[in-house]
Symmetry: C2
Subunit: 498 residues, 2 copies
């Protein structure tokens, strides 16, 4: 890496008379700096009237902009005392940073605040219109990282996800090959919701979804000692900044805009226009709303981590085993919506577990056992498990081959007969289970009395459980496994329409 | 009421030569109109070059702007055929409407699209910058109504709500006089949520809230035959236009802004800025969001009515008895937040009932019986019931004295010992029950095979049940009624922090 910062200081008075002094001072300053980083060089010093210009060059860990900010203070102090001269303004004439990439980029890379040119594996980043205030912010290294990451992502784009089967159930003969959502909609068990990708579950479909909830709680969570918590389904941006969601999938959130005020007088014109035109006056609405600072729950675990932020957990409370079954998840899906299995709004139970590595590895075995019990014994499903690599782990590169599979995510996939051949069609991810190491533990500064903590979570999607089950077992309880029928013997009667 | 519309038509050619023809035509047109409304008069006819100007005056039900639009078509047809002359433009020179108010306004009244002057009880509304396109929209009568309503509201503002006690329990000796939220927060049973007016219920407080849910379902809803549905918690504006919520409380919604796109390229700069600055770039966010078209659930019943929109319900399905226990309610509270009893986010079960008047009046008695059973026998509360008049009924003026109490709302209020003397302090509304007549039935065009339908709903606020109970019975299960303890014997162990 090579940094070259060209700068000029404008002093409150002419400095040509103290040229020697200044030159000497800079030389000494350079000598001191070299003790910290021997690659730093102050070069090309020019003095003219009340202006001092020079370059700071560095190839080490000490960045020229940090050198500059230190120097500004030192010079002001030194020459203020000695010559009653101060630094009025600092101009950044040029700041160019060269660094090596691991791979040649496949297409152009741009980032804010700088022009980036890349030749082979050498990137040259030239900052645009920056001042010393900008340099004070800690952006430069993040900009370098962002360029590197973008090139890295170019290679990763389009590559298939990591996927490795670890368990498969025997083949099961499906009862039918129809799409359960379509059939339920025809029967009036459910109807499309008032906005895109939402559903209204009439009593018949609601009973099935609620049965899935009951089975998850009674057969998986309670036997393992998980306790329910209730979290807010509204997530502030500062939480998503910590988890990385906000940089990961900003195009997938349902954002929340609060009213700028509740004051009826401010809203009077809006109400007038609604009452007179029977339409929504968009511009008037915009004026009365605040800029979003939060969104609707995307997954439940971030708020659970937030609730433990900065806490030190007593050893005897480990492992912490809690779940949320209240917050509704919303994800903006644009394309690819299908039935109740790929939707903008869904209902998930999310258990979160925090404990030592050993505790979590043991817990994972017990959870797998309970899930197997449900999917084999109660649902009698054809399904499989696979190691996969979700975005947050891929980014930080923590997951590797099978031998290091302490952390990582297991996906549970069910065969969906309506999609065609079991070997060729896409199976439905209807459940997952992750151990995430110390990622979120560190982001939220969660500590234990003594132990080093890990955490993990496991999303139980009720809509996914429902479609996986119905896609294989059909809508007629007569064809359902006996054990399942202990939970739901028959479909409740709905409302009859003419 | 008196309408005076001054208008002028510009023709495609000079019309002075056919002046007689035009005068005769207007006379005949007026004669025809008078058959429909004898107060309509076309007056002050002037012809100059290619311009025809005249006034339309009316004091009856036929509005001058409707006369004008009819006339435009008729004239174009008549003179196009006869003289090959057409109407090029219509100018509205002045449109003044006078109407009587029931009361003198207490302060100035303004509305969009017009200047309003009021002298005593006579309002003069002069339209501003309108053209014939504006007149085609059906705004004028709604504007008149809006002025009348605003004057009416001036008298209503500040007047106390209608409130009449209809039942009171005996006094009960409270176990303590503390604020349950404060005490639970001290014990770590709950903590303030990540955004304003939200809470995070740790296992101890969650257990109590979930117990309330169970009691409501097992002791009230199931015995009466209510069936669960699952609705979307995202409500589109067209639903709130139909229920009147959007004109009733636009300053209280949590609005939802969807991403304008999921396209990663569009979001790239946003992600760059988040990654580099570790802050949210508000302007970049704004650019990437759509204008809100929906909000988070305010109460659950509107989406239930929407789900039945335009349907004809079979007689044998009456009364329809359904409830939602999934959608989370959000209300922007700005001031007045307190504990878990006045919050921006809460959890409610909302049963909705649709049937004949007789069915609903009978159901109300049975529901009151079940609620009394819960609040007297299980909670052992000190509470009362009162007739109240919510905004939507007050607006339509449907509720009156006790003799006409088929429709209306009953509030359930609990004494809150921590607030002070039972006679002087404000009690907490912890439950309500409404019969709303055919208001929503009509808004959503819901029909039965034969019967005339009414509807109603009853909000069961779990946070409200929880605080009402805890405020009187305290946090120690030892002091709780035995029957309640059948549902929750002890508080689960929470997470211990150092």
């Amino acid at each position: 890496m090579k940094f070259n910062l060209q700068t000029s200081f404008t002093f409150s008075n002419e400095i040509t008379l103290i040229m020697e002094d200044i030159n000497q001072y800079l030389k000494n300053f350079n000598k001191e700096i070299i003790k910290k980083d021997k690659t730093v060089k102050i070069d090309n010093i020019k003095i003219q009237k009340n202006s001092l210009s020079f370059d700071i060059i560095s190839e080490g860990s000490f960045r020229p902009h940090n050198v500059l900010l230190q120097m500004k203070n030192a010079i002001s102090k030194e020459f203020g005392k000695k010559h009653h001269i101060g630094v009025r303004t600092i101009a950044i004439l040029d700041y160019t940073i060269e660094f090596e990439l691991e791979k040649k980029p496949l297409k152009k890379v741009t980032i804010p605040f700088a022009d980036v040119k890349i030749k082979d594996k050498l990137a040259t980043m030239k900052l645009k219109n920056v001042d010393d205030e900008f340099l004070q912010k800690n952006y430069i290294d993040r900009m370098i990282n962002r360029v590197k990451e973008k090139v890295e992502n170019q290679y990763y784009e389009g590559k298939g996800e990591f996927w490795e089967s670890i368990w498969e159930s025997p083949e099961k003969k499906p009862v039918w090959k129809k799409d359960p959502t379509e059939e339920m909609a025809k029967l009036g068990w459910l109807q499309q919701g008032p906005t895109k990708g939402k559903w209204f579950y009439r009593p018949q479909a609601a009973a099935i979804l609620k049965t899935m909830e009951k089975i998850a709680i009674e057969e998986v969570l309670k036997p393992l000692g998980f306790k329910e918590i209730i979290e807010s389904h509204i997530v502030s941006f500062d939480i998503w900044l910590k988890t990385g969601h906000l940089e990961g999938m900003p195009g997938e959130f349902y954002y929340i805009a609060e009213p700028a005020t509740r004051d009826a007088e401010v809203w009077e014109r809006f109400v007038d226009l609604v009452k007179i035109t029977k339409e929504i006056p968009d511009e008037e609405l915009k004026k009365n709303l605040s800029i979003p600072k939060a969104g609707i729950c995307y997954a439940q675990c971030p708020v659970i981590y937030w609730s433990l932020k900065g806490k030190t957990i007593s050893e005897k409370s480990l492992p912490v085993l809690i779940y949320d079954n209240t917050a509704i998840s919303s994800r903006y899906e644009s394309g690819g919506r299908h039935g109740i299995e790929r939707v903008d709004e869904f209902h998930r139970i999310e258990p979160v577990y925090i404990g030592t590595r050993e505790q979590l590895l043991k817990l994972r075995e017990k959870m797998l056992e309970r899930y197997k019990h449900v999917f084999n014994k109660i649902f009698d499903l054809e399904w499989r498990m696979a190691w996969v690599t979700p975005w947050y782990m891929q980014q930080s590169g923590k997951i590797g081959d099978k031998s290091t599979q302490d952390t990582g995510t297991i996906d549970f996939e069910a065969y969906m007969p309506y999609r065609g051949d079991r070997k060729k069609s896409e199976w439905l991810e209807f459940q997952n289970l992750s151990i995430l190491g110390d990622k979120y533990i560190n982001s939220f500064n969660i500590k234990a009395q003594k132990s080093k903590l890990w955490s993990g979570c496991s999303g139980i999607g009720l809509e996914r459980w429902t479609t996986a089950f119905l896609a294989q077992k059909g809508l007629d309880p007569a064809n359902w496994p006996k054990v399942f029928k202990k939970y739901l013997e028959k479909i409740p009667k709905g409302i009859d329409f003419l």
